[in-house]
């Protein structure tokens, strides 16, 4: 068929890229999977942070798919050291910049494994020592780089290769670690959760985090089509459901206190979230065990809604139904 609307031959994309009205911290040509939530999330974070940053990146997909030597997708100064030390490397960069009187901001990037689990100690130390670093956890709820194994962030009931669903097991037995509460206990100036399904909110939080001095933390839900087992086109839709079910609450904390949340306008049942995802498909089976686990998942979502008061009283521009309303002619994604 004749491609309609394909690139007119006269368009010089190289020139066009130079005049894009946004900062591109990750360039095209990286090797992320189709529909990768993390690739999108990282680009959005850097769009909001701008070019005057240095990134310390933990081991993980983001590191691998952006830096197959001699190529790099990054346009900001970037260093990868190890899996568990992104926070510490970032801390070192930050003190060095402070010592040199430089004002460049420091970001630490890690997946949930590098944050909830192996990188947790270094993160806690970095927060405690009050380094002026924004730590961003790209939370895709399992070890995806190694081929989908469960992490401390994997939600209850989710299938992974090390929490498989079988005859006597319904996926992960344990609960998703309440990392935000632990982060909150450090009393840092700013901590928040965000989702790739709500880019405006996400970017506002990056800017807010960079506005404070001292450590800040962003838990950024970013679906993994491979590990969650959903169609690559559904990355945003699925993550919107993560928010609208209450399974992933969108919160903002200052000094450990919840100061804001994204209200849910129309709470969705968890089975709608489970349906497009392979990792939850076993919960939809017609067995008592599956039903019980699905109900359990629903209860966990309900508990989140109750705990953080996520139900919306009246529709608003910042609730889950209004936060990404289109604006004609762009620019809503401030």
């Amino acid at each position: 068929m004749t491609p309609i609307g394909s690139r007119p031959p006269s368009v010089d994309t190289t020139a066009l890229r130079k005049v894009q009205p946004r900062f591109s911290g990750i360039e095209s040509g990286h090797g992320a999977c189709q529909g990768c939530g993390q690739a999108l999330a990282a680009r959005l974070v850097l769009e909001a942070a701008g070019p005057d940053v240095i990134v310390a990146n933990a081991t993980g997909c983001l590191e691998i798919f952006t830096t197959p030597w001699p190529q790099s997708a990054w346009t900001v100064p970037w260093i990868h050291s190890l899996f568990e030390n992104a926070a510490a490397v970032a801390a070192g960069i930050e003190v060095a910049l402070r010592a040199q009187g430089r004002t460049t901001r420091v970001l630490a990037f890690a997946g949930d494994g590098g944050t909830f689990d192996i990188g947790f100690q270094a993160l806690s130390g970095m927060l405690e020592r009050n380094h002026d670093v924004l730590f961003v956890c790209f939370d895709n709820e399992a070890y995806m780089n190694t081929g989908v194994q469960r992490s401390g962030s994997t939600p209850h009931g989710a299938w992974t290769n090390t929490s498989p669903a079988g005859r006597v097991r319904q996926g992960k037995r344990h609960f998703k670690k309440d990392l935000l509460a632990i982060i909150a206990a450090h009393g840092i100036p700013y901590a928040a959760t965000a989702s790739v399904a709500y880019p405006s909110d996400l970017r506002a939080k990056v800017r807010r985090a960079l506005d404070v001095s001292g450590p800040s933390f962003l838990l950024l839900h970013s679906p993994c089509p491979l590990g969650w087992g959903h169609d690559s086109a559904l990355t945003i839709s699925v993550d919107r459901l993560a928010v609208e079910t209450g399974l992933f609450p969108i919160l903002e904390m200052e000094r450990g206190h919840v100061v804001g949340s994204m209200k849910i306008r129309n709470p969705r049942p968890v089975h709608e979230y489970a349906l497009p995802q392979f990792r939850f498909r076993h919960l939809l089976a017609e067995t008592p065990e599956a039903r019980e686990e699905l109900e359990h998942l629903q209860a966990l979502a309900d508990a989140n809604i109750e705990r953080y008061g996520l139900l919306s009283d009246a529709p608003g521009p910042r609730d889950s139904g209004g936060a990404d309303t289109v604006r004609r002619g762009g620019s809503r994604w401030g």
Binding site: G31, A32, C33, Q34, C36, C61, I64, F65, P68, N145, P225, L226, S232
Partner: protein
């Protein structure tokens, strides 16, 4: 020794395809070997897997750099520069493609991709067959059976047994149906040659 290189994309089951071929050879009491290109490729990225089949024990552990045969999981892979690398000048390529081999060759020449004059090409619309039968675009079964039929390397029954090792029930039945339909789409033994070629 027959050396085969399978080109596909992460997530399409190409490594599984290699394992299936090697397993099928095992059922015919041949010596075989299948392994992926160990890498960090993501879903969708071009990847390769290798198969060796011989009547004597296989000692080689190196990658297959000059294969006799290529099996391509989609015709777009012909545009990936590494795909044709090292293919024997008398080699053959089986492509999952809705296009006729001549059209494919012509199209590639227009794009400046040169397939050697003695390299044979065959195509089968494996994705369409798989979508019809499985509802998912996993081209393995028709592609592998067509390959075996073309080369006469192994019987499609052995391939069926290899499938039975990994699948069961309805999915197995559908795959077995695809094995027969794939084989029937090509001329049997068109590429046949002695196994010690």
């Amino acid at each position: 020794m027959v050396e085969i290189r399978i080109h596909g994309r992460g997530g399409q089951g190409n490594v599984l395809a290699a394992y299936l071929l090697a397993t099928a050879a095992f059922f015919e009491e041949k010596f075989s070997q299948a392994f992926p290109s160990f890498g960090a490729e993501r879903r969708g990225a071009p990847i390769t897997a290798f198969v060796r089949i011989d009547s004597t024990p296989i000692l080689r552990r190196s990658q297959v750099t000059s294969p006799r045969y290529l099996i391509l999981a989609d015709d777009g892979l012909l545009r990936v520069p590494e795909t044709l690398s090292g293919l024997s000048p008398e080699g053959a390529i089986l492509v999952n493609s809705p296009h006729a081999p001549e059209d494919l060759r012509k199209h590639l020449e227009e794009e400046g991709v040169s397939v050697g004059p003695h390299v044979r090409i065959a195509t089968i619309p494996a994705t369409r067959l798989a979508l019809e039968a499985l509802g998912r675009p996993i081209p393995n079964a028709p592609l592998l059976s067509a390959f075996l039929s073309l080369t006469g390397t192994l019987s499609t029954e052995s391939l069926g047994r290899a499938f039975a090792e990994r699948f069961s029930g309805d999915l197995l039945a559908k795959n077995l149906a695809l094995v027969s339909s794939g084989a029937s789409l090509v001329a049997a033994n068109l590429w046949k040659e002695p196994i010690h070629a």
